[in-house]
Subunit: 254 residues, 4 copies
């Protein structure tokens, strides 16, 4: 077991692909959007990433079988826009691992000649959010004007504590290789999985990419989770299930 092991499932040729990254984080906003895209677009898995920096556990699937924690890369080909979508179960469990894995994502972007990366996350504000807002950050200030036009908000020095985790690091590390990258953060309470915030991010992302993506499945998932939360609140043991909780202090994580 090496620190990082990449399994290439399939070789694909992509035309000017855009990379989208959405991993677990605040409100699982990034993960919800990226998982939805993979499902909705029927994107094809091309890579699996394993690492001894991931939490030392396996996940149990609905058929009773287990699998190692991993990150995955999916490819989507279409006449309009080719995509590389990075999804996963967890982010790194160690400090160094965060850097190594984010840098691997940029390696992959370079390999496929990606010239724009969108990383997706949530921005926890610590209170219930009434109006869905998507906050932006870029790794090249020239992008601000373009992204603002779609309704993404840029607030001076926000998030104040920076962007923790892969969504931020990918921007920083891609900058060093000359790849433009944008982080879209859905405002969320930070306390719960937030598919409403994910819908807001998805809506903006598809507008930016000029793609049509059905949001019904995400809407349903939102309702499922909302029902589940409601049920849990009723139940005696109101503890939030582990998979719905944020892993660490995810308040500022993308």
């Amino acid at each position: 077991m090496k620190e990082i092991e990449v399994v290439q499932i399939k070789e694909v040729t992509l035309k000017d692909p855009i990379m989208i990254e959405g991993l677990p984080g605040v409100g699982h906003v990034g993960k919800l959007v990226a998982d939805h895209l993979v499902e909705e677009l029927k994107a094809e898995k091309i890579m699996e990433i394993y690492s001894s920096h991931f939490p030392p556990q396996v996940l149990v699937m609905s058929d009773g079988s287990v699998r190692l924690v991993k990150n995955e890369v999916y490819a989507y080909k279409s006449k309009k826009q080719d995509l590389l979508i990075i999804v996963g179960d967890h982010q790194s469990a160690t400090n160094t691992g965060y850097y190594l894995i984010a840098d691997l994502f940029v390696d992959i972007a370079e390999k496929y000649k990606v010239n724009r990366i969108y990383t997706l996350g949530g921005y926890g504000v610590g209170h219930i959010v009434d109006k869905q807002v998507v906050l932006g950050a870029v790794n090249n200030s020239k992008l601000v004007g373009e992204i603002k036009k779609y309704g993404v908000e840029f607030k001076e020095n926000e998030p104040g504590g920076g962007i923790i985790g892969a969504s931020g690091l990918v921007l920083g590390l891609a900058k060093r290789r000359g790849i433009d990258a944008v982080c879209l953060m859905g405002i969320t309470s930070g306390y719960l999985v937030d598919p409403r915030s994910a819908q807001a991010v998805l809506k903006l992302l598809t507008k930016i990419l000029d793609m049509d993506v059905d949001t019904k499945a995400l809407e349903e998932r939102a309702k499922e989770i909302e029902n589940l939360v409601a049920k849990l609140k009723d139940a005696e043991r109101t503890e939030i299930p582990k998979e719905m909780r944020k892993d660490e202090d995810l308040r500022y994580i993308g």
Copy 2:
């Protein structure tokens, strides 16, 4: 001192051995069963595993001498079924160590041409357990039917938080090498060492392996521990002795 040091105590030739792994974890269920098997079957120690990822301590034995924390591999030969049994004092104390040591177990399985691994653990439910239930997980969904027949229960997406530690990782890592593996988890409160849960797991395991193993010693150990706990509860300082406590958050650990 390398990260991992393997001392081969004895070379053995085994015929189609099955590997059994039981290390400290929730309720020490896995450890109790594996230790019992080694003792009852008079299995022979063939390997010792030392690692700088284990907790930095030595254990004091009854004769006043100490030894490093270690994991051990025992071999058992019989007409019916040869076994490799992995036991130990502790699991890894570091994130990376968990992966390295579990991967070593799979190396050993490969070396001895093991074609089935059983990892044993406890599944903490947070309340006193009335009825002994053994939950299963596999690394190949084809195994579910076979294992269910013995009375092992499979619940969709349970344990919800995944299986943390060696028992889970061995399944995940063995899958990549094409070795079938099953995790048997005794339901337990998660608060105390649970030899009752261990008995339930042992009963199922011996049924699966079609082996006769006397459970009297385990029954006695159960009573000893129950008496000890009762005495401790009476004593002013009711703190649970360190060796009986779970090491970390072992609620979901196998």
Copy 3:
């Protein structure tokens, strides 16, 4: 991404430079002074230092763009005294990283033939400070007399818990290479960013270096922060913004 990556921005030739180090720590005293010097002297950036030991995050700048956490080296050339100034966003997030990065600073000192290093920090006393005092420590006892003359105080065995972080380690590591180094610690409560304490340190440092540095900007920054703190105290959510908080237990950090 290596453990440490140094980007040489510009090659400079310096004459007998003095190195000044000021990173985030107790009361951000060291950082405030070093940042002020860079700005006031219009020092020129010559190196950027990246590391997987830094916290895994990016910082958001006022133009909406982000950058990786880094440390930087600035050069200042003048007829009187050449300087190398080390500033940065964060100190290491890992134990080993602290040593590696401090040792790199001493490598840089050696490369530029620095024969005196001043490291700057705060010394948290746990209560409001009325009188600004600067505490000193050296890596060569012969320096005590010289430094005392400028009004720096030396108290036997203080700080009692030692000096944690880069400011201390640089002294210790420079000693092994025969480079004299002095740590100047402004007494501060340890609860808040303390530009008053920074002013006291700056005043002493410029006296020692026999340099004129306008402190107006620092005074303004002090007032800004004091206003911000006052406003925050008024606001319902009086939590101190992350960037103003001390990273860990910074009570004794330089």
Copy 4:
């Protein structure tokens, strides 16, 4: 800066030396005894050990100068018995470091052909100790009888949680190289530096070594510390100074 750096200060030739190790731990018992021996015997420093696994800080000495955290080896030559004494400011701050540094001590023992090691520590019992007792542990059960004769007590399976840290690991690691080692643990409350317990350990150790060592200085140090504690108790801020506190959970550390 390597993980471990050994500076050989002086080469010495020793005749059948015995190694004594006493580092900070429960009640600082081991450190007090080893430091006392070095001082009383005027032992000569022959090695300094630095490591990036030690806490990232420097210590401030009485003359205002600082030095890196280190461990040291002293040599003592006499007609009766040559000694190698290991002392230090801190134990490792990382899991792996504990193993690496303890293994280095055994390397040194091997280099100097040591055939007996005594490691010194405290055993915290959580309550005030009336009668000074010294608990023993060995890495070779044949030693129990010999050591018992001197009044060292051996209690079955005590310490129950094992011996954490260098004093334990040295026993375990020396065993693998065939070097006999004994751990002497002074019973102590575990809450404070305990020179009384150190005196008990010193008394036994010198009896075992058949050496005369004046204990007056240790007695004085005991009184100094007791006075300091008394004064601190009187003072408003009764917090125990950092240098007198145990570093981690030192209850069971040797």
